[in-house]
């Protein structure tokens, strides 16, 4: 085997080795679940210390929203179907915030276990539908919101 061919072979082997090592590491990275936020039940499980900043995700509980009349203050509860957390927030809410909507709040727990949020992010869905199709679905009893691609049904939680 001439030296040039031997050199070329080592190059190919090196590249194969490097790429497979990179792929292996990427595979292990995929196993790690990428938690964007903690659910109310996880907050309870981990007894999150007060004052530690973290992201809380969940569905705004129907009927739990009450807004102060004189200021932006708002209090609502967020649930993941098992546990609930009271959230206090004093800023402009995202335009799509409403009951039943999934949200992520960034903030920390105060000493009476109420979550003081600094930021609230609402999640959108991304379906496109002609108006008549949307109405048909509505009538057929599939409220569009529930098909929210990032719904937070407990089953989805990986510990």
């Amino acid at each position: 085997m001439t030296p040039t061919r031997k050199k070329r072979l080592t190059v190919v082997l090196l590249i194969l080795l490097g790429v497979s090592v990179a792929a292996a590491i990427a595979m292990t990275a995929l196993q790690e679940n990428l938690l964007y936020f903690l659910s109310p039940s996880e907050v309870a499980e981990q007894q999150m210390p007060t004052g530690r900043q973290f992201r809380l995700g969940g569905l705004v509980k129907e009927g739990s929203v009450n807004r102060a009349t004189d200021s932006l203050k708002i209090r609502f509860r967020v649930t993941d179907g098992l546990k609930e957390v009271e959230i206090h927030y004093d800023d402009i809410l995202p335009d799509l915030f409403r009951e039943g909507q999934g949200i992520i709040a960034i903030g920390s727990l105060d000493n009476n276990r109420v979550f003081q949020a600094d930021e609230v992010l609402a999640k959108h869905d991304e379906e496109y539908m002609a108006p008549e199709v949307a109405d048909a679905l509505q009538k057929a009893g599939h409220p569009r919101a529930s098909k929210d691609s990032t719904s937070v049904a407990p089953s989805e939680y990986k510990p």
Binding site: V11, L14, L17, V21, A22, A26, N33, Y36, L38, I106
Partner: protein, 221 residues
């Protein structure tokens, strides 16, 4: 292989000989980071929020600053021509230069990052992850940056062009790293981000030397 080590030793010797010049990127990093509290106000809450982004962007700028010199000296004094005709694989020699660059620029940045974290009031539980992310990220700066440096080595104003060429390519590292550190500040698992960075680093470690060698041949033609 002994050519590889002798080139590595030579470059480190040159870096030590011109210490002031070699530490310039580090001073640049310290100065740029101190500009932010002066510019945006010293409010600890604000600083903590932007700490990660500031440290990482400053590290990226500092590395890029020193990349322009990576091959320029060897190009101008003819050493590059000797490398090409030495019969050794140019990518191996390029790798030696890249490692030398990382040791003289990337490593100091990693070692000084805790100081930066303190200056910018980064939550202390995020510090280990910051150092780990820099440990993985700065080699990627050197690897990808070396390709840009090799492509622009013969040009008059290579410096700015080099930045324009490699910044878009460094976006994934910036995103992964800032993701990891902010996850750590938000008390979330950051190992996934670091693993992704490690995978990216290994991929670049494999491909960049060859691309760099090919780019040097183009620049020398």
């Amino acid at each position: 292989m002994n050519a590889f080590f002798s080139l590595l030793k030579r470059d480190l010797l040159l870096a030590v000989r011109s210490r002031a010049e070699a530490l310039q990127p580090l001073f640049f990093l310290l100065v740029v980071v101190t500009l932010f509290p002066l510019g945006l106000g010293p409010g600890p809450a604000l600083l903590a929020k932007i700490a990660v982004g500031v440290i990482w962007i400053a590290a990226l700028l500092a590395s890029t600053l020193s990349l322009d010199k990576l091959f320029r000296a060897d190009f101008e004094d003819g050493s590059l021509e000797q490398f090409l005709t030495s019969g050794h694989s140019l990518s191996l020699l390029a790798l030696a230069k890249i490692i030398a660059h990382w040791l003289s620029t990337g490593l100091p940045i990693v070692l000084f990052s805790p100081l930066l974290a303190i200056w910018l009031n980064l939550p202390h539980e995020a510090l280990p992850v910051l150092v780990k992310s820099l440990l993985l990220g700065t080699p990627i700066f050197s690897l990808i940056g070396a390709i840009g440096a090799a492509l622009t080595v013969g040009l008059r104003q290579g410096g700015q062009l080099l930045a324009l060429l490699i910044f878009p390519l460094l976006i994934p590292v910036l995103i992964l790293a800032t993701g990891a550190v902010s996850a750590a500040t938000d008390n979330l698992e950051s190992s996934a981000y670091l693993l992704w960075m490690a995978a990216y680093a290994v991929l670049m470690l494999t491909l960049a030397p060859f691309a760099c060698a090919a780019s040097l041949r183009i620049s020398l033609s």
